[in-house]
């Protein structure tokens, strides 16, 4: 059962026709999501995350390749998919002039959930989402975080086996974000639900068991968060130089520095040999009268790994184009 595949795509392609010609939004994406897994599709804005989600759901016409959920083809078995999958769109909205309870009932009825099941399930879901005190409040009068929780509760009312969430915590405060992810965690552990989530937030990506990194319509890496973090060679040094710009330029050209990223006034430097390079960097900068505050080794996070992988992809593309 563990290697049962819930979502599968093979060389998925989606092209949009625009006035300026054809735009390829998805360029041959192959991915698998296993049952009970939380899969995070991460990538910068415009990478093609939303389009991928919509094509898999059958909301957009597929241009090429294969895609299916629970064995149902996205294009041909659209309604089988819709009966078994819950979805929250990125720019989603629930009817704002319906109350919380009416919204729940509407989605339950449209999915054909029986009255008896509704009586049991709706209070459960409202409690699960922490909305049991707001049943008579209009959907449009809820806070941003509560709206997302209501959307999640509505998308679960037909007991789907898979939920697909497109940037579900966009524009939500940090506390609500944490609460929302705790809800998702409960869904996975208690119901064994498969969760597919698109997100630009790296801390959210770390909460997934499997991560796909999407960039310019392609999946440039997919693995567990641990493996992805380990993909960046070398060890990571963090420090704050007293003079930022000269320090940045100096360090970037040094031997043994494989990659450098900037975080505000901090530098994150990947080096091949930690002890040796740490001393060299400090010495080189000291020669220029630059001091380094708080220099220490840190664990690479998804954020560093993500940027590193994109840098690599960009330099690969550059070499490809110069080779031509």
């Amino acid at each position: 059962m563990t290697d049962e595949k819930t979502i599968v795509t093979k060389n998925l392609v989606k092209q949009f026709k625009t006035r300026n010609g054809v735009v390829t939004a998805i360029n041959g994406v192959t991915l698998q999501v296993h049952r009970g897994e939380t899969y995070g599709l991460i990538g910068p804005d415009g990478a093609g995350k939303t389009t991928t989600t919509r094509v898999i759901l059958g909301l957009l016409t597929r241009t090429g390749g294969e895609s299916s959920i629970l064995g149902y083809d996205s294009m041909h078995d659209t309604y089988q998919i819709r009966e078994r999958v819950g979805y929250i769109a990125q720019q989603f909205a629930l009817p704002g002039d319906l109350t919380v309870m009416e919204n729940m009932q509407f989605f339950a009825n449209i999915h054909g959930v029986s009255r008896e099941d509704q009586k049991k399930r709706i209070p459960e879901l409202l409690e699960f989402a922490g909305l049991e005190k707001f049943t008579t409040r209009l959907g449009g009068k809820l806070s941003g975080g509560m709206k997302k929780k209501l959307a999640l509760a509505c998308s679960l009312v037909h007991e789907p086996q898979v939920v697909m969430l497109d940037e579900p915590t966009l524009g939500v405060d940090p506390v609500s974000r944490r609460e929302f992810w705790n809800l998702l965690g409960n869904l996975r552990t208690e119901k064994g639900m498969t969760i597919f989530v698109c997100t630009p937030y790296m801390d959210e990506a770390e909460r997934c068991n499997w991560v796909g990194l999407m960039y310019k319509g392609q999946l440039i890496a997919h693995d567990s968060p641990e493996t992805i973090k380990a993909m960046v060679p070398g060890r990571l040094l963090e420090f704050t130089p007293s003079e930022f710009a000269p320090a940045r330029d100096l360090v970037a050209g040094m031997e043994g520095v494989t990659e450098m990223q900037t975080y505000g006034l901090m530098l994150h430097v990947f080096v091949d040999d930690l002890d040796r390079r740490q001393q060299e960097i400090q010495a080189t900068l000291a020669d220029q009268g630059i001091t380094c505050a708080g220099m220490r080794e840190i664990e690479p996070r998804m954020e560093e790994a993500f940027i590193s992988l994109i840098h690599k992809q960009e330099s690969y593309e550059r070499s490809e184009s110069t080779a031509e």
């Binding site: 309604y79 002039d97 509407f106 989605f107 029986s114």
Partner: protein, 383 residues
């Protein structure tokens, strides 16, 4: 969900969508009030403000003759009720000034030698109109000519009598009988027009705006990922709006018949059936517009263009018989044209299908095309 036929689950989905739509309509009471109040407002406006028969034209007079006969002529003008002689001046110059300053719309100048002219048999009265108001000029000119004609008759009769003729009666009379609307009551003409235009505007807007709004907000995407089929969505959207439109129609009819005393001559059943067809095709037209328009603003622009053409070209206010063929042909493309002829036929003339089957056929064909097109073009996907 097991053991349930496809029909049953479809009925459930349609019920869910209708229920949601109805709650939304009832909860948005401002819009509802406007939808139900607008026809009443419109009828009173058309009945009292937009009066198409022009009389009681404010008139300025310069009677330079000051004779008995000129007075008789002016009396005739006043009693005709077409002209209200409000201002008396002493020269043509002053008459023109009064019209220019807006104190009067028409002016009458009677020359100083009016009495002598009549005796000679060729008297002339100068009537001056403010040409910026074409309707008044038309009606006023016709009225003034008629009055002058009658006055001439009287003068001729008097002359003949003096010459020795015993009894005089003019040889030719025209007699006009106006069918269906003997008192030329404007409301009898306007009420079907108001029904046609309001239903067209209402039905198109109801569906176009609500679908486009849901699309803009992202509600549509959230509903599209449910098992609801495009057919379910269309029926769920249409049925509550049909109820609203029928309610609106009932309000117009009740006010028209009981307040404005507009007679209803023909078959009510036929009227109801064809109106229902017109309502459904109007709502389908709105769905069609929603598949083209991306924003509510765009939808509104499209519906206003249709509305403007409908008011001008379908015979609601201006008779189609006087339009140039090309303009009239454009009007022929708008379904309101046929619906108006049909309901005027039923309400005012009381005629049945035998006399208007062609118009009914056009309306039915149009309805079928729009409904099928709306169902076909309403997408289950986003692209």
């Amino acid at each position: 969900m097991q053991g349930e036929s496809a029909m049953q689950s479809q009925a459930k989905r349609i019920y869910a969508l209708m229920w949601k739509e109805l709650i939304q309509i009832l909860r948005d009471w401002r819009t509802l009030l406007m939808i139900l109040g607008l026809p009443i407002l419109e009828m009173f406006l058309f009945a009292y403000a937009v009066n198409m028969t022009i009389d009681h034209i404010p008139t300025v007079v310069a009677d330079l003759s000051m004779g008995e006969r000129s007075q008789t002529f002016l009396d005739a003008m006043q009693t005709s009720e077409f002209f209200d002689l409000e201002l008396y001046t002493s020269s043509e110059q002053q008459v023109i000034q009064a019209i220019e300053s807006g104190k009067a719309v028409a002016g009458i100048v009677i020359p100083p030698d009016f009495e002598a002219q009549i005796d000679r048999g060729s008297a002339q009265v100068l009537i001056i109109f403010d040409g910026s108001d074409a309707y008044t000029v038309q009606s006023g000119y016709r009225a003034a000519s008629a009055i002058a004609q009658t006055q001439s008759m009287v003068v001729v009769a008097q002359k003949l009598q003096r010459a020795g003729a015993a009894e005089f009666s003019p040889p030719v009379f025209t007699s006009t009988r106006i069918l269906y609307n003997p008192n030329m009551d404007g409301m009898i003409f306007m009420l079907p027009g108001v029904i046609g235009i309001l239903l067209q505007m209402l039905t198109m807007n109801l569906t176009a705006m609500s679908v486009v709004r849901e699309q803009e907000l992202g509600i549509l995407e959230q509903i599209l990922v449910t098992p609801a089929r495009p057919f379910d969505l269309i029926v769920g959207k249409m049925v509550p709006n049909i109820l609203i439109s029928v309610l609106d129609l009932a309000i117009i009819l009740v006010v028209g018949i009981y307040w404005f005393k507009v007679p209803f001559q023909g078959s009510f059943l036929l009227f109801a059936l064809l109106s229902l067809l017109f309502i459904i095709s109007g709502l389908s037209m709105g769905v069609l517009i929603s598949t083209i328009a991306k924003t509510q603003k765009e939808a509104q622009q499209i519906t206003s263009v249709v509305l403007m053409l409908s008011m001008l070209l379908t015979g609601m206010m201006y008779p189609r018989s006087t339009m140039p063929p090309a303009v009239s042909a454009v009007g022929g493309l708008i379904p309101v044209t046929y619906y108006l002829r049909i309901i005027r036929g039923i309400m005012t003339k009381g005629i049945g299908l035998t006399f208007m089957w062609q118009d009914v056929l056009v309306l039915v064909i149009y309805g079928l095309i729009v409904i099928v097109a709306a169902a076909k073009l309403f997408k289950k996907r986003l692209d």
